[in-house]
Symmetry: C2
Subunit: 453 residues, 2 copies
Amino acid sequence: MSVSVPSNPDGTRFDDLHQILQQGGMRRAARMLNALQPAEIAHLLESLPPKERELAWNLVEAEYDGEVLTYLHDDVREHLIQLMDTGELVAAVGSLDTDDLADIFQDLPVAITQEVVNSLDQQRRDRLEKALSFPEDSAGGLMNTDTVTVRPEMTLDVVMRYLRRLKDGLPDITDNLIVVNRKGNYLGVLYLTDLVTHDPEDSVAEAMTLDIQAIPATWSAREVATRFEQHDLVTAPVIDEDGGLLGRITVDDVMDVIREEAEHQFMGQAGLSETEDMFAPVLLSARRRALWLGVNLLTAFLAAWVIGRFEATIQQVVALAVLMPVVASMGGIAGTQTLTLAIRGIAVGQLSIKNARWLLWKEMAVAGINSVIWALVVALIARLWFHDTNIALVIGAAISINLLAAAFSGAMLPLLLERFGIDPALAGGVILTTVTDVVGFLSFLGLATIFLL
Amino acid sequence: MSVSVPSNPDGTRFDDLHQILQQGGMRRAARMLNALQPAEIAHLLESLPPKERELAWNLVEAEYDGEVLTYLHDDVREHLIQLMDTGELVAAVGSLDTDDLADIFQDLPVAITQEVVNSLDQQRRDRLEKALSFPEDSAGGLMNTDTVTVRPEMTLDVVMRYLRRLKDGLPDITDNLIVVNRKGNYLGVLYLTDLVTHDPEDSVAEAMTLDIQAIPATWSAREVATRFEQHDLVTAPVIDEDGGLLGRITVDDVMDVIREEAEHQFMGQAGLSETEDMFAPVLLSARRRALWLGVNLLTAFLAAWVIGRFEATIQQVVALAVLMPVVASMGGIAGTQTLTLAIRGIAVGQLSIKNARWLLWKEMAVAGINSVIWALVVALIARLWFHDTNIALVIGAAISINLLAAAFSGAMLPLLLERFGIDPALAGGVILTTVTDVVGFLSFLGLATIFLL
């Protein structure tokens, strides 16, 4: 899918704001910004470089500040929080729902957190504590506590009268009311669509749906996302181990989970965090990148060391130095394909130790075919280039070996890393290319030493 | 986030089914499968290798076949469709909603499509035609036509009575009714939450929400996803250019869009399609992979050709052959970081030609810092290893040049490719590493030729 720039509403909006800010039209810029949804303001702020971002942030009305903060990536949020004084910050986050507050609570300066807690009434303080007691990436951490519950013996007519008396109306994204028993245990849900289509004299028990299983608070965010996707859910109730209703998860938070997981996978491959700010300060970026470059330098020198073992061979047959990157590169590419397939499989829960055997077998078979084809192609090109059949045979053999090694490592690495609690999306690529570089140089130069000298 | 295998419900399910199939417990396997949601069945089928997948597919009850097919990735769907005879296939897909039917219509064998069309009544045929008239990845292609509309002058009481008479109830995932005028033009939405909390004597006009903007059918799927994410939507109305209501988009389809876009980006980097079946037939996989390996072979030989220009230099200073992969590798890694950041920025609509200047400036500054640091580190290691200050100076300079070239290409390539209609997620990595390989070898061996000989 490609972005069609002209029709992209964000693009236009960015242009407008950028132009207005440049011309110093602060009042117009403020009007434009504050007419947007908090999520849109956050999105726009992230696409501005630091100076203009600070300028724009000061134009956002104080009443939106808190909500905008909840929509920002961690890095940008931290940057903007640093610009606010204690009073502003306490006012901004103090008015948030406790669930949203819990999401950004860890990012607040310690000095602020105590003040925020003090500003809450007892009920909100309890809720915040409860929300903070679950890991951020668990069902408990994702859940909101704004549930509206009904009891099975009520008639729909009574439910309607009860709803009309709710002083704040129903919470956003409510597709059902949660049915609980006297003890607050989860029984089922009453969809609003059923509430409005059934006879008002029917009881909740008659109109309710029993086949929505509640989600245990301990499930991982990934499991929650899978459940939502497979059951086309809009909201789902969350329960404790005794079946007691704790809260509910809404689909907007699940979309964020899917987006973040995807960015984690994509950015992780390059050693970047999914929260990386495109316009992060130069020094901060340089420091973060340096770590990744350092890790890779080690692996590059490992490969160089392998080559170094064969200096004498290269001295005699310089063509080897010319061709050796081809062997390493083909292995790296082929291995990355297998690795990518395996990482995706693990991420969507379709690959585990149970069916890894088949993937390994299939990938080895694919590599077997490709290793023959590309050994022949590369050997032929090498023969034409250097007019040396022996070099051609050696590079062909090395390519074959490296493609097979690449498939093996690509299929096995991710599961192995998982097993040791290492994130394959982050470490997989580095380790894989180290393997294919080392195997590539070793097999090519090793075979050359044996057969060419 | 890491997968905790034991608590993963899919993992257990896969184990169970796998074991039952192995023991030949067909009836038990069928019972287990058919108790699942169609999306879950699809997910499970995808995690089975071909033989067991076929076995399991035959156990799925005919009435679920159609829906399961809609949830499968293209490759797997094609595989299973080939196993069905015409009668089965027509029966399976003929009962689908026209919107779902439209989604898989292109994948059906031509012989079948005519038969399916013939089996539809006129109304469904018209709907199918309409659904097929929009590109798959547009708002029109995502939309369902199952809208329930009301008029502003109705009272809520009348709306409720109307809903109770709907013979099929309300469609799945209905959070609002769409308010249209006499001509069928979109006016606003009446949330069910407002319907049930307002006074029944109120009119629709009094209870409706006006600030949900309808989505034009021509919007791209990506724009639709952004709108849903930023406005926390559950459903959104879709209109034609005259404001006439065409249908609605539901959040479950939007989640699929987000997931597919993410997989496209992730898999595309390795030259894989996001619909790639983990257990695709070996020959098919080998053919597809071969294309990507071929493209990469060309770039590898381009790099080799560059090295070949310096054979005489390498002959005299073999240490160059040992160290040259380090220069190329550091450039590739640094460039990939910038490239990844830029591709993500474009994908989420936060990077365009308008703010690319800043990204370029920032990335060049980061590269400037890192190029100094790593030039020193690499030069020092080279000095210690080969006891040759000149080699150290040359490799330091080459690393610097390559890191700057990497940042420049990483930042500019994606936007340039977009401009020419080439998908940066697919082509970006290959082109980038070609640049960093060529610049790396050229600068290192070139400087060596000038200063070392």
